[in-house]
Symmetry: C2
Subunit: 412 residues, 2 copies
């Protein structure tokens, strides 16, 4: 493991100093090599699938693991998209001159070496490798054991792309073992070789990373997302938005888990919203006030902080915007929260007072996605408060340095 | 300790939502209350000094601890300066509209609750309290035991300023105990109440914080700063710059600890630089090539990574810019490094390839300071790679959220 770190650190200088064109060419070559290696990748994935099925992996996890020609093409196309993205490195973010003549710039640079620890989905290998290279970083990938064969085959294609343009293959490395101790070594930072760890996976993985990491972590915690139906909500928009926010895909972190409804509008609107949700197969769990209006199961204290990732919605009746903001502050995870209202003053208050990474008015919480933000893919959605928050694309994988040009100035 | 965290968290909402004017008025009031409380603060400091002297604190540390009317006035004036700084909160950092009509903004917000753990200097209490309030944060201060009486008296003045304008006093709290377990509780995050820890102090404090913290840390590691005299250096500038960079103040983190001199220019220039440094009382420790040119002590392997914080300079002869960059990459701490040269191409290569938080050409490394950058004070100099690097002022104590305004958009 330490050798992986040393190789990444050695590769970092070449990647950092390569031109934007070289990095773009490498990404384009990586997409070509993924396509060319399709038979190898699909065969490796077939073995992963067979082994995982025999080991009793759940159907949902098997579906995440599975690759087919269409999914593989989507993976190659995503890498190609990243190849076409603007390169951010060297951007002068701020530029000023001090009274003593010192010319100062804040210049965008890569972070360095990023460790990514993820679970089943093999496409993360390609997505993460591409975004890290776009932002001038080296990456050490530690995929889940279920997908180890698929990830190795994909990594080989990525490395062939690097090699083709003369960049060091070790800019993208996959930990070749499924040993849990390898994760521990990464969390300890591989003797200073890793600058940042990004965990992508379930609660237990993220908890282990946050507890053990000795290097900075870009965490993606769970998404306890809320859609708040304000008393001035447009009923048609409210229905369309809650259906989409809850049910478009229930397994994504931007799915709404709790609907808050103003008491003033609940008697007239909740029956309609509930009927629409139930008709689409959604289970409702309400507080006493909600249950007094529509028959539904009972939400207990735990429901308010549960990420169902399933067609289940908890429903609370609130006295107004202060109560809604307080509920979100108490139970939310700082991920994504929405107000549905035609009242601009109420909307602005909500946007200002809710302290989450993404706050929306009259738009589905399922827009919490780097692609939907125009970031060209994402490495995750940051719910922490430092460095990058919300959808994290290539920009979130950069940092800066200060460049100071003088003419011999000494400090008095 | 947990009660402190809860009170900070409760105060955070009011501070975050207060207007820029209210925060400015609070800062101005804090400066007035520091001046008004001068007799109380100086008396408390006198007791701290007497106790610390009896306990055998070193003269250098006693000097850091000491307050007098001039230092107290400087402290009040610094808080007043922060009162006059532009407020950054609510700034729209990026603004764009997606093809589907969603209007997106990245908006600057405070981090939340910041824990600051520091050692002797009582003025950190006022500086840190002021910068945290300017950036809309609440702060929990844990000062050194030597200065506990001074820090308590200063904190009371700051809190009186908050109270005067109707902001919660608990926006600024001082841990009222010198118990080391209090630091442990802060590093554990006070059950989620602390969003970021900033250690300000010596190596052992920073090491403990990095090892034990379960919340993000904004670290200020040591400054192993280099001044590299390139073969195209102007000799007069080189002499002025190395004297200033090493000797202006030897105890600051931006002081140069190692001078690198190009082999091509060393025979003619090193004798002059060495004579000037020695004349000012600086001890030189050189590698074999330096010692072959000028008589000086021997630098061992350890010297290259030692932050002397004293009038001692290690000297290495390098074969050229690649060797200089490699030396800095191997031994430097990513803090501040300078090239002295009249060759613009060499300068740009150095600025590009040295991966430190601050890189300079023809300017003293002692400019590594938030005030000198125009940031109006600093909470420290970040040597990590995430969030804020280099001098960290009020801006480094902020983060952002995404604000999305729609008209009923649902995600396809």
């Amino acid at each position: 493991m330490l050798a992986l770190g040393q190789r990444a650190r050695q590769a970092a200088k070449a990647v950092r100093e390569a031109s934007a064109e070289t990095r773009s060419a490498a990404l384009a070559a990586m997409a070509r090599h993924i396509r060319a290696a399709a038979p190898t990748i699909l065969a490796a994935n077939g073995e992963d699938m067979a082994r995982s099925q025999a080991e009793g992996l759940s159907p949902a996890m098997l579906d995440r693991l599975k690759l087919d020609p269409a999914r593989l093409e989507a993976m190659a196309a995503a890498v190609e998209d990243v190849a076409g993205q603007a390169d951010l490195l060297g951007e002068v973010m701020v530029d000023w001159t001090r009274p003593n003549g010192l010319h100062m710039q804040r210049v965008r640079i890569p972070i360095g070496v990023i460790g990514i620890i993820y679970e089943s989905r093999p496409n993360v290998t390609a997505d993460a490798g591409a975004l890290c290279l776009r932002s001038g970083n080296c990456v050490i990938l530690r995929g889940g054991s279920d997908a180890i064969g698929s990830s190795m085959a994909i990594t080989e294609a990525l490395r062939a792309g690097l090699s083709e343009v003369g960049l060091p293959e070790d800019a993208i490395q996959l930990v070749p073992t499924t040993d849990r101790a390898a994760v521990g070594a990464m969390l300890a930072g591989l003797e200073g070789a890793i600058d940042m760890i990004i965990p992508r996976g379930g609660k237990s993985l993220v908890a282990r990373v946050q507890n053990e990491a000795r290097v900075p972590v870009l965490s993606h915690l769970e998404g306890i997302c809320h859609t708040y139906i304000h008393q001035a909500a447009d009923p048609d928009k409210a229905e369309a938005l809650i259906l989409n926010a809850k049910l478009r895909r229930t397994g994504v972190c931007g799915a709404t888990e709790t609907m808050l409804v103003d008491a003033a509008i609940a008697p007239s609107l909740l029956p309609r919203l509930a009927a629409a949700l139930i008709a689409k197969g959604c289970e409702l769990r309400g507080d006493a006030a909600a249950r007094a209006i529509v028959a539904m199961g009972e939400a207990n204290e735990q429901d308010w902080s549960t990420e169902y990732l399933a067609p289940i919605l908890s429903v609370a009746i609130v006295a107004g915007i202060d109560a809604a903001v307080a509920h979100i502050g108490r139970y939310g995870s700082g991920h994504t929260d929405c107000i549905v209202t035609e009242d601009a003053v109420a909307a602005e208050r909500f946007l200002h007072e809710v302290d989450s990474a993404i706050v929306l008015v009259n738009a589905s919480t399922q827009y919490a996605d780097g692609g939907e933000f125009g970031f060209g893919g994402e490495i995750g959605i940051g719910t922490g408060r430092l460095h990058a928050r919300g959808p994290v694309g290539a920009e979130g994988l950069t940092t800066y340095k200060y460049v100071v040009r003088g003419t011999g100035q000494t400090r008095p």
